[in-house]
């Protein structure tokens, strides 16, 4: 496994700066956000949320390498987020399953009853 300093070296050789990483992360986040807002399918919504979480992970890692490559706190945080996103996905899917059992639907439009 490469050390993070080596990763930075490889990236530098390839002409990649932190801006490229941030650009990718932004696009990913935007795609995820657009998916959450526009999708009517609950499973797809959950997947888009995962996309947004991964965009955030990418930002953490990239910024960590850019600011202080000898420190691994960004990477550690990314691992935490992965763990939480796994748990979130499990809970989310369980809710979707329960909803589907009760209503035979996975359309978000059908679940707008929680209002005044």
């Amino acid at each position: 496994m490469m050390m993070s300093a080596e990763v930075a070296e490889v990236a530098a050789v390839a002409g990649l700066t932190v801006h490229h990483y941030l650009g990718v992360a932004t696009i990913l986040f935007g795609l995820g956000f657009a998916g959450v807002v526009s999708s009517r399918h609950l499973i797809r919504t959950l997947m888009c949320v995962e996309l947004m979480l991964n965009a955030v992970n990418l930002v953490f890692v990239a910024i960590n390498n850019h600011v202080n490559p000898s420190d691994l706190s960004g990477q550690v945080f990314a691992i935490f987020i992965l763990t939480i996103s796994a748990a979130e996905a499990a809970v989310g899917l369980a809710i979707v399953l329960a909803l589907f059992k009760n209503t035979a639907s996975v359309d978000v439009e059908d679940f707008s009853r929680l209002k005044w």
């Binding site: 956000f33 959450v36 807002v37 526009s38 919504t45 978000v108 439009e109 679940f111 707008s112 209002k115």
Partner: protein, 668 residues
């Protein structure tokens, strides 16, 4: 003087205390129920018969104090009576220290004697009058409470103490007027008396506060020089008057004096605050005699005498005001009394008229005359009321004189004493009323001819309506249906005793029979005081003023007998001729209607307006706040659509929006 009278003299503080203890004993004794161990019956702790014994003992002890006080007074030369003031601290707040105590001087000796003497007789009479009443013991308790209040008022050393007892007599009066509270008229009358007195007492209180406000520093200096005297002590009023007349403008002095006079106006039933007194006749007759004729209503005149120095420094404002209030009261009372058919109401209006005489005398500066009339009036008016009580008792609670007549045969002692009282109040034949009324008229002649003329005419009217009541009640044929009982000995004894001072007290204190004259001790030197000093007994008995007043009174008697005894004239014709005055008299000068109008048209309308303002404006504002909040809330609830995407989009675009705003504000 022996140690016995020394004890009475040195412990005047006991005088109000006796009746207070009697009142407490009777009240507590009535309230606690005990079970008789033998029979198992429940009875009051204190048997009923102890109530009159306790009350009369308390009053009797007070009378002993009064007698030793008279001895003390007459032992001193009248030019230099050394007043004795004793004070105890009542309440202190910082520099302000209010005291309570006893003041022994000529005025308090006078009132102490009148109150204890008349009270004792009336309490004895009450035993006969109320013996069949369920509230017998309670009545004596209230009588004791009244005596406590009245004696505290009489002995008051300073104005705040007087005010406190002034209110206490008001409370006793309220309780006793409403003694038969199950009668709606009595309940309403007690309430009316209380409310009307509130009006006057409010003015009185403001007057006291004004007086204190303008003289507090001066008083503290004064009390420093006279440590035995209290703040606002009556003894210091002459010096205070000197200070005030130099520091305050005349209009302010007059205002203060008139505000203080508002108290006597209500308590002594002066026009236009007199309307409670006739209604107060709903109370038991002994109360009408004691409180609403002899003592409490005279307290107003006594108060004027006490604050006389303050009043006398406003000769152009307060004194004419007081004089004319008294004159109007005297005339109005007399005119109304003429048309009354209820014997007690007629006497009540007569009391009002006589109080008007006293107040007018005070306003004229005739200090001695006013108090002398108070003194003599207490005896004969108490007696007249007790006579009316005896008549009412004998006629089975009938009070309408049209249902009486010819009662002289059945009730000879009552009739005779009533006749004596009538002669005395008319000021005829040198009975006591002659001497005191004569002095008032002489002072009026000296000061103001118009006042003299009106009061003399009123004196004639007094004779007319008093003899009218006498003829209607005791002469002619019996017109009523009730069976007339014989008079009760318990009730006639006080009448016989009171008849003696009613006839002779004026002559005795005229100064020509070996005893000191009333005016020797009870006097207030005013710079231009009315002069009336007869040189001899004959001069006092036959002078211009006295002859005229007796003549006018005799005309009144003659007219009265022509109308109501000999029936030479028919009253119906005269009623038609004098229709405007008769209507005024019959309707009591419409004063009650005017007050009703004021209350209904003014107070009730005002209260309705206020209620409307409260309902629509104040409540409207409160409701408006609520409604606006509710509407805004409804508007905002539309945002809560329940759609997940909308929420997410709002969050997302919101974050971007905040970021852009941040950029624009701090970076741009």
């Amino acid at each position: 003087m022996n140690w016995f009278s020394d004890f009475f003299l040195n412990n005047l503080w006991l005088v109000p205390l006796y009746p207070l203890l009697a009142f407490l004993a009777i009240s507590i004794g009535r309230a606690i129920q005990v079970t008789c161990p033998k029979t198992g019956e429940k009875t009051a702790l204190l048997p009923q018969i102890f109530a009159p014994i306790l009350t009369m003992t308390a009053t009797g002890l007070g009378l002993l104090h009064a007698i030793s006080a008279i001895q003390w007074l007459f032992a001193q030369p009248h030019e230099a009576v050394q007043a004795v003031e004793r004070n105890w601290t009542w309440l202190s707040a910082g520099n302000l220290e209010l005291k309570i105590g006893t003041l022994l001087d000529a005025n308090s000796v006078l009132m102490l004697t009148v109150v204890t003497f008349v009270s004792l007789l009336i309490q004895y009479y009450t035993h006969g009058y109320m013996c069949h009443d369920k509230g017998y013991a309670k009545f004596f308790g209230y009588l004791a409470l009244f005596n406590f209040s009245m004696l505290g008022l009489v002995l008051a050393t300073n104005l705040p103490q007087m005010y406190m007892f002034w209110e206490l007599v008001g409370v006793s009066s309220y309780l006793l007027i409403g003694f038969w509270f199950h009668k709606p008229a009595a309940a309403a009358a007690s309430l009316k008396a209380f409310l009307v007195n509130r009006v006057g007492d409010f003015g009185f209180l403001i007057g006291i506060l004004f007086l204190l406000f303008f003289s507090l520093n001066w008083w503290q200096g004064y009390v420093g020089l006279h440590p035995e005297q209290a703040l606002l002590s009556f003894q210091g009023f002459e010096s205070l008057a000197g200070f005030l007349s130099q520091t305050l403008p005349a209009w302010l002095l007059g205002t203060i004096a008139i505000l203080i006079f508002a108290g006597p106006m209500a308590k002594s039933a002066q026009f236009p605050l007199h309307t409670w007194l006739p209604d107060a006749m709903e109370g038991p007759t002994p109360i009408s005699a004691l409180i609403h004729a002899a003592t409490m209503v005279a307290a107003g005149v006594y108060l004027i005498a006490r604050v006389f120095p303050i009043i006398s420094i406003s000769p152009d404002m307060a004194m004419p005001f007081i004089t004319w209030t008294g004159v109007i009261t005297a005339v109005v009372g007399a005119i109304i009394a003429v048309s009354q058919t209820d014997i007690k109401k007629a006497l009540a209006y007569s009391t009002m008229s006589q109080l008007g005489f006293m107040v007018a005398a005070m306003g004229l500066g005739a200090y001695t005359a006013g108090l002398f009339h108070l003194f003599t009036h207490a005896f004969f008016k108490a007696m007249l009321f007790l006579c009316s009580g005896s008549v009412i008792h004998a006629c089975e609670d009938e009070q309408d004189m049209r249902q009486m007549g010819g009662l002289f045969k059945k009730l000879p002692i009552t009739g005779l004493t009533y006749l004596i009282g009538t002669i005395a109040i008319s000021g005829l034949f040198w009975t006591s009323g002659f001497w005191s009324k004569d002095e008032i008229l002489a002072a009026a002649l000296h000061e103001n001819t118009a006042v003299y003329a009106i009061l003399t005419a009123t004196a004639g009217l007094t004779a007319f309506y008093m003899f009218r009541t006498f003829f209607m009640t005791f002469m002619g044929d019996y017109r009523g249906k009730a069976h007339v009982h014989h008079e009760d000995k318990v009730m006639t004894l006080p009448l016989q005793i009171l008849a003696v001072p009613s006839i002779f007290i004026g002559l005795v204190l005229s100064g020509f029979v070996g005893l000191p004259a009333f005016g020797d001790y009870i006097t207030y030197s005013l710079q231009n005081a009315p002069e009336h000093h007869p040189h001899s007994l004959l001069d006092a008995m036959f002078n211009q003023v006295g002859n005229i007043s007796q003549l006018v009174a005799l005309v009144g008697v003659a007219l009265s007998s022509a109308f109501y005894y000999f029936k030479v004239f028919k009253t119906d014709g005269v009623k038609k001729v004098l229709a405007p005055i008769y209507n005024l008299s019959q309707n009591k000068f419409y004063m009650d209607d005017i007050y009703d109008g004021i209350v209904e048209g003014g107070v009730l309308l005002q209260s309705q307006l206020n209620a409307g303002f409260d309902k629509y404006v104040i409540d409207g504002l409160v409701n408006l706040v609520g409604t606006v909040t509710l509407l805004l809330g409804k508007l905002v609830t539309r945002l809560n659509s329940g759609r997940l995407q909308t929420y997410v989009a709002t969050i997302g675009f919101g974050v971007v929006g905040v970021w852009l705003l941040y950029q624009w504000m701090f970076k741009g």
